[in-house]
Amino acid sequence: MSKYLSKLTSPLIAVILGLVVGAIIMLVSGYDPVAGYGSMVNGIIGDSYYVGESVRTIIPYILAGLAVAFAFRTGLFNIGVEGQLIVGWLAAVWVGIAFELPRIIHLPLAILAGAAAGALWAFIPGYLKAKFRVHEVIVSIMLNYTALYVTNYLIRNVMTDKLDKTERIADTASLRSPFFESITDFSRMHWGIVVAIICVIIMWFILERTKTGFELKAVGFNQHASEYAGMSVNKNIILSMVISGAFAGLAGAMEGLGTFGYAAVKGGFTGMGFDGIAVALLGANTAIGVVLAALLFGGLKAGALNMPLETGIPSEIVDIVIALIIFFVASSYFIRWIAARFKKGVK
């Protein structure tokens, strides 16, 4: 148990430091931090509507975080989660619109289409890395832009006639849940949370319990030893990217099938893919850590919306707090040093 506890200490201290420095910034800018954070907490769990909205915000963060964390665990940096998310979104919506099927087939099909599109998008950098040793970061960054503009083109010219968004998906492909809506005062909370939780279990299971996970992690830690042990390094690099991309594609599918019900032309990135990097980092790249980090991120983002309404504090302050938390997580060495000092002092 103490093992888990020590793993939690440094992210926890990072969060606290982030909040404290955020409070100082609020003070300096002339706002009341107590009221500010109070309204933020209200915006996260103040009433059932806010809880529902918070959960909805958390869903894509969990999945994007899983995508980044999975690749990290196997020694790869999938910075292309954003692009994989965008193509996953569009693919899921396309299936949602184009087919007329019973719900039991249509919904899973649309979800799988999102996963498959993300996986395909991630296969490209994986393949190039395995075959030609091209660094996955470069390829996947470029593919983010490709994804953005290709999907925009498809929405405007193929799926619609010069419109800015697609028509709505069929009800049989929708993740919307009248049940969740009824208990959360008509928030947009949807079944995606179940999908996300299943994916958390899948990631944990693959990495910790299967032969494939054993190979993926081994290749991530030490390619030479893996090759010596008879594992195929190239196969595992590709597989890792594909699984990572599938999680990313699902994150997009959740947005397309749950929150929005359509795909729209985007002026820029959603940012969720990049936030996934922070979620993974904060969650120490473990499945359960990602859930906790996504709770925090999604919570902060959802709560931020309430801050200007209740107290007039700009929601950008929350962005600053989030940035500070990431900063403090990244400087975990520094935090460990402080913790060590603190321990010594107590002793």
Binding site: K211, A218, A225
Partner: protein, 511 residues
């Protein structure tokens, strides 16, 4: 009596272990003082305490009789303590001079005066007979030369006491001789040396006194002139140690490995192995003797399937295995104790248990239908840890946390346990102490006696002479001679390894 360094009753704890307990080390001015101990005995910890990297919980350090607190390597430097690390801390694309002045650049108005610095390096090099070219790039000079640059670095910073951390581990026999010469020159110039080692021969040859640590405890200090290797070994290990590996005569039978006219290219496309013939039979140990860089690594990698061969054949039990995938070769019955245990042998971040099934994890009972059975995996690990005497807190401990000797025992356990027909042991005892070496040699001979073929590659002539039933000398990628260890001498082998072919009757034999 005047001591330059005194470390009195040092105690250093880490969570869960006491690395040093009541260790006293007193170094006289102008002596070479050996610090002897097994792997993991606490030698490095003690030196890191002296060098300011660790703070001791108890004890006192005195330099020239004055009590001091060494809280950082910079303070150690200021006190005239310099460390020649085992793994060199050099910047490859920089020149010798640039490396030496790094961090202490002499500058005039912000401009580094390289010419003057080079001149100073040249003078120092001359004074201590190091023969280092101040303008050479690190990447272009030999390991032995790089070590001298490390020595110069400490001298340039005004070191009076030099700590050598297992300096001979990376050197060829010729380079070791030169290093010993350099150490004597340093003493003549009034420096004092602490030599961390577990090689008894070196201690007998160059040291004045020796302090022994065993399992973190200071055992005592003896004068080298009043002791002998046997006594030192038993002080270090805590029991009698056999130096001559005991074995019966070999009973070779069927051919297991047959290599014919093999050619392997190195990454630059140069033939590292060419026209190489080699036969290893069941029930014999064939030792490959040679100076580092004569194609040994490429040969092993080709045998293990890690490197493509460009010509020739490798047959295992009559079946061609050249250019098969490593897993196919493993499954065909090859065990491989790799040369570099950190690079190839272990996934250091995996637990020792996971490393024990590194090649067999996909087979029953360790996994079934793609799902790992960790109960079975760690059961296996426990039994191997026990039978191969791997000293680890538990089977869940990361491999990284184990000492080199115990990592190696785990690898050997893993490879031998798969019961391969051919066991390739590449430098199996590199960096290990006498206790572990004895253990490993016994296991190799056990394999031979069980009717397996063993191929031993080592740069240590003593090991080759001791363990092998037949010695194949490799020179420039070719086997240039096959000799019987009972009928040859280190001198003869040395000559053969240096490329002078045998002139007496018998010449090159074909096996």
């Amino acid at each position: 009596m005047e001591y330059v360094i005194e470390m009195l009753n040092i105690r250093k704890e880490f969570p869960g272990i006491i690395a040093n307990d009541n260790v006293t080390l007193q170094v006289k001015k102008g002596e070479i003082h050996a610090l002897l101990g097994e792997n993991g005995a606490g030698k490095s910890t003690l030196m890191n305490v002296l060098f300011g990297l660790y703070q001791p919980e108890q004890g006192e350090i005195r330099v020239n009789g004055e009590p001091v607190k060494i809280t950082s390597p910079n303070i150690a430097n200021d006190l005239g303590i310099g460390m020649v690390h085992q793994h060199f801390m050099l910047v490859d694309p920089f020149t010798v001079t640039e490396n030496i002045i790094l961090g202490k650049e002499p500058s005039k108005a912000g401009k580094i005066d390289l010419k003057e610095a080079s001149e100073e390096v040249r003078k120092l090099s001359e004074q201590y007979q190091l023969r280092v070219d101040p303008y050479a790039k690190i990447a272009d000079i030999s390991i032995g030369m790089q070590q001298r640059v490390e020595i110069l670095k400490t001298l340039y910073r005004g070191a009076e006491i030099l700590i050598f951390d297992e300096p001979t581990a990376v050197l060829t026999p010729q380079e070791i001789k030169e290093l010993i010469f350099i150490m004597k020159a340093l003493i003549k110039e009034g420096k004092s040396i602490i030599l961390i080692t577990h090689k008894l021969k070196e201690i007998m040859e160059v040291c004045d006194r020796v302090t022994v640590i065993r399992k973190g405890q200071g055992i005592g200090t003896v004068n080298v002139s009043e002791t002998n290797p046997n006594e030192l070994a038993s002080l270090m290990v805590g029991r009698e140690v056999l130096f001559k590996t005991e074995k019966t005569a070999a009973a070779p039978s069927d051919v297991v490995l047959e290599v014919r006219e093999l050619e392997v290219k190195d990454p630059r496309g140069v033939s590292a192995v060419r026209n190489l013939d080699l036969t290893v039979r069941a029930g014999e140990i064939v030792g490959i003797a040679g100076v580092d860089g004569n194609g040994q690594s490429e040969l092993i990698e080709a045998l293990a399937g890690l490197r493509k061969t460009t010509a020739g054949s490798i047959k295992l039990n009559g079946k061609e295995i050249s250019n098969l995938k490593p897993r196919k070769i493993t499954e065909a019955g090859v065990g491989h104790i790799p040369e570099d245990r950190h690079k190839h042998g272990l996934v250091l971040d995996y637990s020792i248990g996971e490393n024990i099934v590194l090649q067999t994890y996909y087979q029953q009972p360790f996994s079934k239908a793609g799902i790992l059975n960790s109960k079975k995996i760690f059961e296996k690990a426990r039994s191997l840890i026990k039978s191969y005497d791997v000293r680890t807190p538990s089977e869940y401990t990361p491999a990284r946390a184990l000492s080199g000797g115990n990592q190696q025992k785990a690898i050997i356990g893993r490879e031998v346990d798969r019961n391969p027909d051919l066991l390739i042991a590449a430098q199996p005892t590199r960096g290990l102490d006498v206790g572990a070496i004895e253990f490993i040699h016994k296991r190799l001979i056990e394999q031979r006696d069980a009717g397996k073929a063993v191929l031993l590659i080592s740069f240590e002539l003593e090991e080759i002479m001791n363990v092998s039933d037949k010695i194949a000398v490799i020179y420039e990628g070719e086997i240039v001679a096959i000799v019987d260890p009972k009928e040859t001498t280190e001198q003869e082998l040395g000559l053969l390894m240096a490329g002078s072919k045998r002139t007496e009757a018998g010449g090159k034999q074909h096996v």
